[in-house]
């Protein structure tokens, strides 16, 4: 069972929901932090590093002796990672998406591929939980290949919780593709609603079942609940606007550890997702 915690707007509480849900479910759960540009689940699930692997993407290298400067490679590349000017092309590895198309279209077989490092995937043991996180190297702009490398560590069975990056662009799509359920975390404000509607459009396009978690419920207005009612979107959980939650969070602690009464709230989130899945599956 793979559940992703996502949001349109940043700072709505994705990581709070992801880490507290993982802790509530307990032993055997794997939490995968897919926000590889700034992974932060490790601040709350403190653990010991048990493994680290370098992730690379294949980028082109050109043999100038074989290249006749025909320019097929640079015409093919949608990302302008190669610039052909009648001689061997210039290569911009930082723009390469690693598709390998340039090597395939080269009539002279002058292009081979060499690994270009983009980051690492780390595995941590945090009590009875496993935390997997990607760390994109500084200066690297392209996170989806690293996110896919993180997702390769999703266990074949059991529960995996994915903490998604914010927004609705490629890194989020790379995270949500193929998951069983998405919980969209939002706050009950016009900003929260605006970005929630973008996120809803995205998950609908991906065809993944989803529901909404309202964080800091009643801190704003009723716009999110009204929207969900109108759109037939299940509200999975409302987390109260509780100063204690903010204090615990600011100290890097887990809400469900310090305020045990919240355990049943996160447990109810999981139960609701399971029952909705069961309904859909029937």
């Amino acid at each position: 069972m793979i559940v992703a915690i996502a949001s349109g707007k940043g700072g709505t509480g994705k990581t709070t929901v992801a880490v507290n849900l993982a802790r509530t479910l307990g032993a055997g759960v794997t939490l995968l932090d897919c926000d590889v540009e700034e992974p932060n689940a490790h601040l709350f699930l403190k653990g010991e590093l048990s493994g680290s692997e370098v992730v690379s993407i294949p980028v082109p290298q050109v043999d100038p002796k074989l290249c006749d400067g025909c320019g097929e490679c640079s015409r093919f590349c949608a990302y302008h990672a190669l610039a052909g000017l009648g001689a061997a092309p210039l290569i911009f590895p930082e723009l390469c998406h690693g598709c390998g198309g340039c090597a395939k279209v080269c009539p002279k077989c002058a292009i081979s591929e060499a690994p270009h490092r983009i980051g690492v995937v780390e595995t941590l043991k945090a009590g009875d939980l496993t935390l997997v996180q990607g760390r994109l190297d500084v200066g690297v702009a392209m996170s989806p290949p690293l996110i896919r490398a993180v997702k390769q560590r999703i266990p074949a069975s059991g529960v995996a919780i994915l903490d998604a990056p914010p927004g609705t662009s490629c890194p989020v799509v790379a995270t949500l593709r193929g998951v069983d359920y998405v919980a969209l975390v939002t706050e009950p404000t016009p900003f929260g609603l605006h970005d929630l509607t973008l996120a809803v459009d995205m998950v609908r396009a991906l065809g993944v079942p989803f529901g909404v978690v309202v964080n800091r419920a009643r801190a704003g207005d009723n716009c999110v609940n009204d929207y969900c009612g109108k759109e037939n979107i299940p509200v999975l959980l409302e987390i109260p606007d509780d100063r204690q939650v903010a204090e615990v969070y600011s100290q890097g602690d887990l809400v469900v550890d310090r305020l045990p009464e919240y355990r049943k709230l996160f447990r109810s989130l999981w139960d609701k997702i399971m029952s909705l899945r069961a309904l859909k599956g029937a």
């Binding site: 052909g84 000017l85 210039l90 911009f92």
Partner: protein
């Protein structure tokens, strides 16, 4: 010899576009003939990335020996330099003013990119 000026318009009185990669058009001026043609660069306006690289390839195909523009980023600079095209940064308001400055030798050749990549 031909020189490319970045612009949003169609003639010499048009504004000089401060951006290279995402300029809408290039005004390609033939110094010997005293005439110009307009070359389109629209495909790059909405490019997610690599606009400077594509624009540099576009102007290289136009057979120009120099580019006069507001700013030039590092990737475009690498492609233009490799195509042996000289780059001149210029703050003139219009293409006509930039042309006068170029002709009078008032512009200095850029020896490096003057802005970071993804300068908007």
């Amino acid at each position: 010899m031909k020189v490319a000026f970045t612009t949003s318009g169609e003639d010499l009185s048009s504004p000089l576009d401060a951006r290279f990669g995402r300029a809408a058009k290039f005004l390609v001026y033939d110094l010997e003939a005293g005439s110009f043609v307009i070359a389109d660069n629209q495909q790059n306006l909405n490019a997610a990335q690599g606009a400077g690289i594509q624009a540099a390839q576009n102007v290289a195909k136009l057979g120009v020996e120099a580019v006069v523009t507001g700013h030039c980023g590092p990737k475009a600079f690498r492609v233009l330099t490799s195509a042996k095209i000289k780059i001149y940064n210029c703050a003139a308001a219009t293409v006509a003013e930039a042309l006068i400055q170029y002709r009078d030798g008032k512009l200095r050749q850029a020896l490096d990119a003057d802005v970071e990549g993804h300068w908007a």
